[in-house]
């Protein structure tokens, strides 16, 4: 199977199943709104804790010289807020995980049924939940590296303002992008054997997705330059249907060699 056939098949299924498309868009949009509602109070609490910890630390820095900021974080009066901050970050990741698993299970079920496959919601939930545990850990590690790099850059900028950033800052987005592409193929049913045996197909699929993302991003930037409302309108009416096509396309791609789950 070639990439062009996968694109044709995905677009064909998209055009022939308007109800599936509408359902998938509603689920994706609903998941985004639901995540917004659930995460807003957690973000507010994180901000409150950040301000309190920042105030306590700055007060300690003035009075106790020679102590590291890290050791101050684990002192009696700040430890309670720091541990709550860690739990809040975990809660935010868990909310994202649950909303992602439920919404992607439903949309993948719709995509599979529209493509003529037999699928059950319970099987999809179990499969995506297991795969997402691994990718959540990867996401958490990457986020941790981003935070460390940011702190390092901040400290370096304070000490040497004339110095520019180091290489890792430029490499990280590419690494993240590669992980996202692998995760996207894995979550729709790609297995380990498929990635190795169909590596040419995988590379071409990734190249096409990057090109589509680049064009969409450029289009939204142009719309944003005209007006923000136009960008929002374009975002909803371009990005969400595009997500449905991409999901159908990825499913066709991973089905190419008969090795899929």
């Amino acid at each position: 199977m070639s990439i062009t056939y996968a694109v044709q098949k995905a677009v064909g299924v998209f055009v022939q199943n308007p109800l599936m498309v509408l359902g998938s868009i509603c689920v994706d949009l609903g998941a985004l709104v639901f995540f917004g509602f659930l995460s807003a109070p957690v973000y507010d609490k994180l901000t409150e804790h950040g301000i309190i910890i920042g105030t306590l630390i700055s007060q300690k820095v003035q009075s106790a010289r020679g102590k590291s900021v890290l050791s101050m974080l684990f002192e009696f009066d700040t430890l309670g807020y720091v541990s709550q901050l860690v739990v809040l970050l975990g809660l935010l990741l868990f909310i994202l995980y649950v909303v992602f698993v439920v919404s992607q299970s439903i949309t993948l079920l719709l995509a599979k049924r529209a493509g003529g496959e037999k699928a059950m919601l319970s099987v999809e939930i179990r499969s995506i939940a297991l795969k997402s545990v691994f990718w959540s850990l990867v996401l958490a590690v990457l986020y941790g590296i981003y935070v460390l790099v940011d702190i390092r850059a901040l400290v370096l900028h304070k000490l040497f303002p004339q110095e520019t950033g180091t290489g890792i800052v430029h490499v990280l987005p590419f690494v993240t992008g590669l992980f996202v592409l692998i995760a996207a193929h894995h979550l729709v049913g790609g297995r380990k054997e498929w990635f190795w045996r169909q590596r040419k197909m995988f590379v071409m699929s990734c190249a096409l997705l990057v090109a589509v993302f680049f064009v969409t991003n450029s289009l939204l930037r142009v719309l944003n330059a005209v007006s923000f409302e136009l960008m929002m309108f374009g975002g909803i009416f371009v990005v969400f249907p595009l997500l449905v096509v991409v999901r159908l396309f990825l499913r066709e791609v991973v089905k190419s060699n008969g090795i899929y789950s």
Partner: protein, 44 residues
């Protein structure tokens, strides 16, 4: 069936925790926090 019940229970728990987040993660009000800061620094 058990899986669906589990998913619904998890979502309900998340909704309850986020709705009553002040109860689960208490923080002092801005006035209380400012008072404690003033007390700990001796009025500065």
């Amino acid at each position: 069936m058990i899986l669906f019940v589990l998913v619904v229970v998890i979502i309900l728990l998340i909704v309850i925790v986020t709705a009553y987040i002040d109860w689960f993660f208490p923080t002092p009000s801005p006035v209380e926090f400012a008072k404690s800061m003033v007390n700990s620094t001796g009025g500065v």
